[in-house]
């Protein structure tokens, strides 16, 4: 590759990075005299799936080309040359969020600000029928001049008909995938909302939300484990922000934020609260929802949602002191232990007569009447 000086009309200036799908170069477009980021896929790497790769790449390019927004990396051009398919994109000066989080944490308001911008970008893409499907810190670029941009609509697909679970192709990064994405069912914009919720959680707490030894374990955690409120790990997180994160991280997409703009609006309120400012009026009508793909029923819970209810794990409330009861459970007395582990007993006649007023009245009056009747009969 180093010998190749040009791809299409683009002059290669250097390598910017390598991803799972291909290499990203710094390149020059001589026609417009501008420097771009050129993302390539080496099609010959996978001959069997070449046609599928080509199709995916073209879809990606067309989808990304529709998106012109300050919080989305602009796509200029796409094409193929030999064994390479390429995509020319806006070249950004900055650092990606993953690197930033590794180097140092983010202030709470900065984290929310970034999430607002990403949500705005996603909202714009969703309105145009494009779902990113791989929102993660590595795909969010923090610009030197400020602001955040969503990169790599590399697996973004047109929402309607091209999801191919039958081929076993699951797209995305497990740690940031939504439960429905892991389940392999059709996803919509609410999946991106979940992924952004995970990113926001990690920005706020500096800790991974869904960790695991392998992908299977992470997938299990994504679908089953309820998150701990971020305020427990970061005291600066307000209860309002806890709620916003919780709503974005709902396992059931039907009860999650229905679109990214709605999420952004609530985040702006949190940001105003954090910065001690009155909430600014949002530019958009926040009650507006993006029309869902026809195949997706918003009322229909994701297949994983059912399992969640059955494995309820609830955290102790911080508002109420439960130490006395927990102490009692930790070291119950002999008698207390019996009452704490014994299932309910059947209530026998004797206990019923002794402790239940109705049967007691019937028993005593019958006994007295029987005695009186006997006296009358035999006395």
């Amino acid at each position: 590759m180093s010998k190749q000086k040009k791809i299409g009309r683009y002059k290669i200036l250097g390598e910017l990075g390598r991803g799972a799908m291909g290499v990203v170069y710094r390149a020059e477009d001589p026609a417009l005299d501008r420097v771009v980021a050129l993302k390539t896929i080496l099609l010959s790497d996978d001959v069997e799936n070449r046609k599928d790769y080509e199709k995916r790449f073209a879809l990606e390019a067309r989808a990304a080309g529709k998106l012109n927004h300050p919080n989305i990396v602009t796509t200029f051009d796409f094409g193929e040359e030999g064994d390479l398919a390429f995509l020319a994109m806006e070249l950004l000066e900055g650092t990606d969020l993953r690197t930033r989080l590794k180097e140092k944490g983010l202030a709470t308001d900065d984290a929310v600000e970034i999430a607002v911008q990403v949500a705005d970008g996603l909202g714009f893409a969703h309105e145009r029928g494009v779902v990113h499907r791989d929102i993660k810190p590595g795909n969010i670029m923090l610009l030197e001049r400020g602001g955040a941009k969503i990169m790599d609509f590399g697996i973004a697909r047109m929402r309607s008909d091209d999801f191919k679970t039958s081929t076993g192709m699951v797209l995305g990064t497990p740690r940031f995938m939504s439960p429905e994405q892991i389940a392999g069912v059709a996803v919509d914009q609410r999946s991106d909302v979940f992924s952004l919720g995970v990113v926001l959680y990690e920005m706020l707490t500096g800790q991974m939300l869904f960790a695991g030894a392998d992908s299977a374990q992470i997938a299990h955690n994504v679908t089953n484990i309820e998150h701990e409120p971020p305020s427990r790990r970061n005291k600066e997180v307000s209860s309002l922000l806890d709620f916003v994160v919780a709503r974005a991280l709902k396992k059931d997409p039907a009860v999650r934020y229905q679109d990214a703009y709605e999420f952004a609006a609530d985040l702006r309120t949190c940001l105003a609260e954090l910065r001690g400012q009155p909430a600014t009026e949002t530019k958009r009508d926040t009650t507006k929802t993006v029309k869902l793909a026809r195949k997706i029923d918003s009322k229909q819970p994701a297949p994983v949602a059912g399992a969640i209810a059955a494995s309820t794990r609830l955290s102790l409330s911080r508002q109420f002191d439960s130490r006395a009861a927990l102490k009692r459970l930790a070291a119950p007395g002999m008698l207390d232990r019996a009452s704490l582990v014994r299932p309910p007993r059947h209530v026998g006649l004797l206990r019923r007569i002794c402790r239940d007023a109705g049967p007691r009245l019937l028993f005593i009056s019958s006994l007295l009447a029987a005695a009186a009747g006997s006296w009358i009969a035999f006395g």
Binding site: Q319, L329, L340, S374
Partner: protein
């Protein structure tokens, strides 16, 4: 701390919580916390654990099903001030997770309470058969106030027999027992009389009864006179 225990779980659910704006959710959560603070005041601190749920709260009540039912009812009353609350009560296994004083609780007791709370309309409580049995064990007779309200299947396709609170049922039951007691008294006395009549004949029985009455009355009169004389001498 690793053991499982059996406890009553009151799951207080804010209806349609997830669909509300975050600011409204925060307001309702604060309201719910106030309601829980008021309603758990009757319970000893050593007999209740309060847990956070995404759309409400769960209160695990140890060895006191009647207290759990009271708590649920009081919470629903306190929520009349605009908090759309409903409650599910179950009696089942719970377990503390985490080290030290614990961080979370799990168990079927909690899961089923959360599940049946979904079937409860606003300001109403739904209880399981297990809770009704536990209430009967702890306070025999009180379980009568939980009347059947159908059955529902949760997301895991488990079927739950549901009961709801009907205080009037306790009064109806008390009236029924009073009527039964009266009937028993009448029947037993009548049986005694019937037996005697069948043995002695009607006239002999009533003559004997009249004689006994006269004798008893005379004896009573003598006794009263004696008391009056005693009082006069003093």
């Amino acid at each position: 701390m690793d053991s499982s225990y059996v406890a009553s779980v009151v799951f207080l659910k804010i209806q349609e919580f997830a669909s509300r704006a975050a600011s409204e959710q925060a307001r309702q959560r604060a309201q719910l916390e106030a309601v829980i603070a008021v309603t758990t005041a009757d319970l000893a601190p050593a007999s209740r654990v309060v847990l956070d749920a995404s759309d409400g709260a769960a209160i695990v009540v140890l060895a006191n099903p009647a207290g759990a039912l009271r708590l649920a009812e009081r919470a629903l009353k306190a929520s009349a001030a605009g908090l759309p609350l409903c409650a599910g009560i179950n009696h089942g296994a719970v377990r503390v997770l985490g080290s030290g004083m614990g961080e979370a609780m799990v168990g079927d007791g909690i899961a089923v309470a959360a599940s049946i709370a979904q079937f409860a309309p606003a300001s109403e409580v739904r209880a399981t058969r297990a809770f009704r049995d536990a209430l009967a064990d702890a306070a025999p007779g009180q379980e009568a106030s939980l009347v059947p309200k159908g059955a529902s299947s949760d997301a895991s396709l488990r079927s739950h027999e549901l009961f709801t609170r009907d205080r009037a049922e306790l009064q109806r039951r008390a009236r029924t027992y009073r009527a039964l007691s009266t009937a028993a008294v009448v029947v037993l006395l009548a049986s005694g009389i019937g037996w005697r009549v069948s043995q002695q004949g009607k006239d002999a029985f009533f003559d004997g009864l009249a004689a006994k009455y006269r004798a008893t009355t005379a004896q009573g009169e003598r006794y009263v006179r004696g008391l009056v004389d005693k009082a006069k001498f003093q």
